[in-house]
């Protein structure tokens, strides 16, 4: 057999030819359709029974601003409580101790298994079960004085959040390779130190996106505390429309504020993610 030539002939020369742009007819069509639908919706709202002047007037009124501050304070505190509880419960859940494991599983079962609004009402009405609370011989008080709307909302939201956060934390801890526990043990670390120094910092990276999700959920869940008279955003908006009957306008005001807060939280989450991504990216040397 003859040795093959280096390159066979018979293929046209394509060098210098460019790939033509595709027209994408369907994209143009669907975009136009969506613009039309949005315009129709906007027109309907513009001609509907909404006094937009009320919306702009009440957007920055003092009671609404106080409401948004209370909403943010409650969301931050309840989330902090939820994260602390979540970490503790997740560690208990992954412990070899069957008592701790069972207690942790029971906590998650109870607080995930009942509606949040029911839990808030139970905390707020605790005085019906225990008229006085305290430590025997040291301190006691009437439960109605202690269980303010603030405390009831904090406990209700925070403890409920802890049940959800514990599962997020547990998933994060399980995502860390078993070899990391072993390497930590091999340099003499105990279980808790290994968790704190080695496992949790790595779990945080996995856990931040779902926790951001949970926090956004929490900002909106604080509105449930309006049923126990906590003066958050929705509660204050309701109080105004009880007086002036501008129901839709004030609900839009509250909605705009919730949207604004959530919009600010998203880039903050990105910053946090970058902080905990240390060592996972091939950084330029």
């Amino acid at each position: 057999m003859k040795p093959a030539p280096a390159l066979a002939g018979g293929f046209p020369d394509l060098s210098g030819m460019r790939v033509a742009r595709e027209p994408h007819w369907f994209r143009w069509f669907s975009a136009a359709l969506i613009v039309l639908v949005l315009a129709a919706i906007a027109r309907a709202f513009a001609n509907g029974q909404i006094e937009w002047s009320y919306v702009s007037r009440f957007l920055t009124v003092k009671v609404i601003l106080e409401g948004i501050v209370n909403t943010m304070v409650m969301a931050a505190l309840a989330m902090a409580l939820g994260i602390v509880l979540g970490i503790v419960v997740a560690i208990m859940r992954l412990s070899p101790n069957p008592v701790l494991k069972t207690v942790a599983a029971g906590y998650t079962w109870l607080f995930r298994g009942t509606p949040l609004i029911l839990q808030l009402l139970l905390w707020f009405n605790l005085a019906l079960v225990f008229p006085t609370i305290g430590i025997p011989g040291l301190w006691s008080a009437r439960a109605v004085d202690v269980m303010t709307p603030f405390l009831a909302a904090l406990l209700g939201l925070g403890i409920n959040q802890g049940a959800y956060t514990s599962e997020v934390m547990r998933a994060g801890m399980l995502s860390v390779d078993i070899g990391q526990y072993e390497a930590a043990q091999a340099i003499g670390m105990g279980r808790l130190r290994a968790l704190r120094r080695i496992v949790l910092p790595q779990a945080m990276r996995v856990v931040i996106p779902p926790l951001g999700n949970e926090f956004i959920g929490m900002v909106k869940a604080t509105s449930l505390a309006s049923v126990i008279q906590y003066p958050e955003l929705l509660h204050n908006a309701e109080n105004i429309y009880y007086a002036n009957s501008r129901v839709i306008e004030l609900l839009i005001v509250a909605g705009l504020w919730y949207l604004l807060v959530v919009s600010i939280l998203t880039p903050l989450q990105m910053l946090l993610e970058r902080r905990f991504a240390r060592g996972t990216l091939r950084l330029a040397r």
């Binding site: 340099i187 003499g188 670390m189 910092p201 060592g279 996972t280 040397r285």
Partner: protein, 254 residues
């Protein structure tokens, strides 16, 4: 008379139905370099993990530096030691893993200083100086501030060796330290281990690198199905094995 640094007596370990170790007895002498060879599932890695107490033995006993590991004898019964005591005993051994297991969120230097500062509570500037010296010793002085993801497998494993050495162990355990490496990176890790052997460190090395065993090991131990089949000088076990199973293993590997 010198005493063995590690004395293993009638150690058995089961994983469910599977007998990983069947009444293994073995001595490791101070300064000795021992290579453990055998097919996967032969129990050699399990033996190392039992010495480092990453796995608890089911029966028998292991003495390290004269101290019984993992349990305390009292009133004719054995009582398990607490986590703190086991942690203290582990400080006498350094472990190098097949998959390096460096802490990915810490730099090379921080990986090395973590144990001495956090567990041994030593001063950080003194530990830092020692860690930099260790990095120099494994040829990575320039990589102190690199994260593991920025290092090659061979470099990571050398940092892992430095991390284990930083605890000033009496015994170094290597669990297939080159098995996860690309072939061209094996040499640099073996070179560090050879240097360590030359410095007089007592080492137990689970390995498939028979060339390394032949060159560096004072003793080669061949294990099969959870038991020691044959042991002796490297030239004898690898060059002129007596047991049929050893012969079969060696002819399959080479």
């Amino acid at each position: 008379m010198t005493k063995p640094l590690v004395a293993i007596r009638s150690v058995s370990k089961n994983f469910g139905e599977f007998q990983a170790l069947k009444s293994v007895s073995l001595d490791v002498w101070p300064g000795e370099v021992m290579c453990l060879i055998g097919a996967s599932g032969s129990g050699k890695t399990t033996l190392l993990r039992c010495i480092n107490q990453l796995a608890a033995i089911d029966s028998g006993g292991i003495w390290l530096d004269g101290e019984l590991l993992g349990v305390r004898e009292q009133g004719g019964r054995l009582h398990r030691l607490g986590e703190r005591e086991i942690g203290r005993q582990r400080l006498k051994t350094g472990m190098v893993f097949q998959r390096f297991n460096l802490f990915p969120h810490k730099t090379a230097l921080e990986n090395i200083t973590e144990g001495p500062t956090q567990v041994q509570g030593r001063k950080s500037d003194e530990v830092r100086a020692e860690a930099l010296e260790l990095l120099r010793r494994v040829g990575l002085a320039a990589k102190a501030d690199s994260y593991p993801a920025q290092l090659s497998g061979g470099q990571q494993q050398r940092v892992a060796i430095a991390r284990a050495l930083a605890m000033k162990p009496m015994l170094m355990l290597f669990d297939e330290p080159t098995s996860a490496l690309d072939p061209e990176l094996v040499g640099e890790v073996l070179a560090v281990m050879k240097e360590l052997a030359k410095s007089g460190m007592t080492m137990m090395v689970v390995t498939h690198e028979l060339g390394f065993a032949r060159e560096v090991a004072d003793r080669v131990v061949y294990m099969d199905q959870g038991a020691i089949v044959e042991q002796g000088r490297a030239s004898d076990v690898l060059g002129a094995p007596r047991e049929e199973r050893t012969k079969a293993f060696l002819s399959a590997v080479i």
